[in-house]
């Protein structure tokens, strides 16, 4: 179980591959589920040109550790990795990587989703967006369950 808070850009897929190579549970692992969140160029109808991510040194790390530990209690997991950026972030850069390894896909999928949703709603991070004119603090995160997906399956 590993939690990392990074002040500079990282390649999420390289990090995932390196981590799996170093902590591999070859043979026992039947499933890996991962999520990567990136910096988008728009929010609430405005172009966003950059972002600053603030955190609470000490508490943020502790909270991410608690999320990983809670996932390990609720699901049968082999390993968990959470990586989150802080500081100045450029367009297209990865902000967050969450991954879960398990024997079976249900544990991996559900634990990955749980960790990501808890992180979005509870982990102490705050985004300040740079716009073409000025900057603003993001006031709230978008809901975690897709309305679009529901509508498509209903039609």
């Amino acid at each position: 179980m590993t939690v990392e808070i990074l002040k500079s850009a990282f390649d999420p897929h390289k990090r995932l591959g390196d981590y799996q190579a170093a902590h591999g549970s070859e043979g026992r692992c039947g499933a890996e589920a991962s999520f990567v969140g990136y910096m988008r160029d728009n929010n609430e109808g405005e172009r966003v040109t950059g972002m600053y991510l603030e955190y609470y040194p000490g508490m943020t790390d502790r909270h991410l550790q608690a999320i990983a530990a809670e996932a390990g209690k609720r699901w049968d997991l082999l390993d968990v990795l959470i990586v989150h950026r802080v500081g100045d972030i450029q367009l297209g850069e990865a902000i967050v990587l969450v991954a879960a390894w398990a024997a079976h896909r249900a544990d991996a999928f559900e634990a990955c989703r749980f960790m990501m949703e808890d992180l979005k709603s509870r982990a102490p991070f705050w985004k300040k967006e740079q716009l073409e004119q000025g900057e603003r603090w993001v006031e709230k995160n978008t809901p975690g369950f897709s309305q679009t997906g529901k509508q498509k399956s209903d039609n």
Binding site: G37, L53, E54, Y55, Y56, G58, M59, R62, H84, I95, V96, M116, L119, K120, S121, R122, A123, P124, F125, W126, K127, K128, W137, V138, E139, K140, N141
Partner: protein
């Protein structure tokens, strides 16, 4: 006898400071600290942590504690 208070993100901008020292008084709670730093402004959606764990307005404070106030989180 004091409590160390921290503010983050938009709340720090609104209050115009990132930290404060409050004199500790026996029996004080999170909301008592909030009223000392923010006046009559209600806590509303403001979140609080005591010693880096989420706390409620009625959570009790001990001498030397670190109390943090911040807006809803927007990470990920």
């Amino acid at each position: 006898m004091s409590v160390h208070v921290k503010f983050f993100a938009s709340l720090r901008d609104e209050l115009g400071r990132g930290e404060a020292q409050i004199e500790y008084v026996s029996g004080m709670t999170v909301v008592d600290i909030w009223q000392q730093v923010a006046g009559n402004e209600p806590m509303g959606h403001v979140l609080a942590a005591v010693n880096m764990e989420y706390a409620r307005p009625e959570t009790g404070i001990n001498d030397g504690d670190e109390v943090a106030f911040f807006p809803p989180v927007t990470g990920g």
